[in-house]
């Protein structure tokens, strides 16, 4: 009886680890998609709304999903405080906090972290294009993450179940 319970728990644990790994990959894709959506929206606001960056932060702080919502609301507050600190510093501070628990990798986090470096253009079209430079990179990451997910998810699940079976045999 105990053996059977042990076998089941071991299998469930290994399968759970596999599921977790697959879900993380899925989460990474969703986070990249959300990041792309946000940058496209930012471009639109710059291009058609001619909104300044603080105005965009205010808007995103109201209409974006978490964790972006809090990050942008926080950034807007900091910019409004106008304590003279430079945008790059404030942006990095807020985005680091926002991306702390995200599944995306460091390279992908850098895309968002370095967004203010593209600011300062004289015309809205050029500015939107500058911000949009990162879109191609994100789209590339999404495509590769999607392909990896499809290929890897079955492998990960199979390996985790096989590992479970291996452990059961080893412990019996």
């Amino acid at each position: 009886m105990f053996k059977l319970a042990g076998i089941l728990l071991l299998m469930a644990g290994c399968a759970g680890l596999g599921f977790e790994r697959v879900a993380e990959e899925k989460r990474r894709i969703n986070e990249l998609r959300e990041m792309r959506r946000m940058i496209v929206r930012m471009q639109d606001e710059m291009l058609y709304g001619k909104r300044t960056l603080p105005e965009i932060c205010l808007l995103f702080g109201q209409c974006m999903k978490e964790p972006y919502r809090s990050a942008f609301a926080g950034l807007y507050e900091k910019l409004e405080e106008n304590d003279g600190r430079d945008l790059t510093m404030l942006w990095e501070e807020q985005m680091d906090r926002c991306m702390k628990d995200m599944a995306i990798n460091e390279e992908e986090k850098d895309i968002l972290r370095e967004l203010p470096k593209h600011m300062g253009m004289l015309h809205e079209t050029i500015q939107a294009a500058g911000v949009g430079q990162s879109l191609d990179i994100i789209t590339g990451h999404i495509a590769s993450a999607q392909a990896e997910y499809e290929n890897k998810s079955r492998v990960i699940m199979s390996i985790s179940i096989m590992a479970g079976l291996f452990l059961i045999i080893l412990l019996l």
Partner: protein, 321 residues
């Protein structure tokens, strides 16, 4: 005006230098930053240099020099890191920041089709003009701008820097809230340069009265018609009539039954009359009152108020400083 309002124009690393000047914010008129040139400050109509320690001095040898990086930092800061959002303003050579302060810019012009100004790059000259909201500045003029409780079509004529916008803002507030000469009226304000209401995120930073609707950052011509259609104002207020199209729009507004309160650059009524687009307006006697502003004893003041026949209708002594 608050000291912070002046300090907020500058990024963090420059604030210490401007601390002492900002303490005298109420007297401050203009700050000029030119690349590799001394920083000059206009205070009480007197020019000073800013020293390295932040003191005002009249000795050029003690002056602090503006550096390229500083100018870029100020520009990025006042544009709220969004220079693109100010492209239209920069193209016109100035932008308005919260509080209604105006920042004039100069640099290398980028042309489109070899004629039109597309943008300005290498902005290396900044002229920060500090707006002062002076409530009650129009009080003495009010009796001449009403007839039987109705506001008269009024044109404010003034040379640059003599308080044209300040006067307009106070009249808008006064007409909107009402006073002993007439009840409060709905005022439509076309604030093309965001100088009068000083709107930030659509909210006026200056007191423009309780019955005032603002069409912010909108060209005068479009703004006047939009306000008439949408807000049915009793009085339409516009700053700086500048061409034939503005005059046509103003005519349409008057035909729609609105009273008009407008300003124009000029040193005298005759000078304004000499402008081709103004001549028909003056001959048709569209305006019931002309208010002429100027400097008396080095102070901005009302020089006189004239009727539609251009006869002096006020007692000049009343406006004397």
């Amino acid at each position: 005006m608050q000291k912070e309002e002046i300090l907020h124009i500058f990024p963090d690393f420059m604030r210490l230098t401007w601390e002492k000047v900002a303490e005298q914010a109420d007297r401050l008129q203009e700050i000029r930053l030119r690349v590799n040139q001394p920083v000059t400050v206009l205070m009480d109509h007197t020019e000073y240099f800013l020293s390295e320690s932040g003191e005002l001095t009249d000795r050029e040898s003690d002056a602090r020099y503006s550096r390229e990086k500083e100018l870029e930092a100020v520009l990025a800061h006042v544009c709220r890191y969004s220079v693109y959002a100010f492209a239209d303003e920069i193209r016109q050579g100035f932008m308005t920041i919260p509080g209604g302060h105006r920042i004039g810019v100069a640099g290398q012009v980028i042309l489109e089709n070899g004629e039109q100004v597309r943008n300005i790059k290498y902005i290396r000259y900044l002229n920060i003009r500090i707006a002062h909201e002076i409530k009650g500045v129009s009080e003495k003029a009010l009796p001449y701008l009403y007839r039987e409780g109705e506001v008269l079509n009024t044109l404010i004529i003034s040379p640059p820097g003599c308080g044209k916008t300040t006067m307009l803002r106070d009249l808008v507030r006064s007409f909107s809230e009402g006073n002993i000469y007439g009840k409060g009226r709905n005022v439509g304000l076309v604030d093309e340069r965001s100088e009068i209401a000083g709107s930030y995120l659509g909210i006026p930073q200056n007191d423009i009265g309780i019955r005032t609707d603002v069409m912010d950052a909108c060209p005068k011509r479009e703004g006047m018609m939009m306000l008439i259609r949408s807000m049915a104002p009793d009085i339409l207020a516009v700053d700086e009539l500048g061409d034939k199209e503005d005059i046509e729009a103003m005519h349409r507004a008057i035909r729609c039954g609105c009273r008009v309160l407008a300003t124009i650059h000029g040193f005298s009524i005759e000078e304004v009359r000499a402008k081709a687009y103004m001549k028909p307006v003056m001959e048709e006697k569209v305006f019931d009152r002309y208010m002429l502003l100027g400097k008396k004893n080095n102070k901005c003041n009302i020089i006189g108020i004239y009727d539609r026949e251009r006869n002096l209708c006020s007692n000049l002594q009343e406006f004397c400083c």
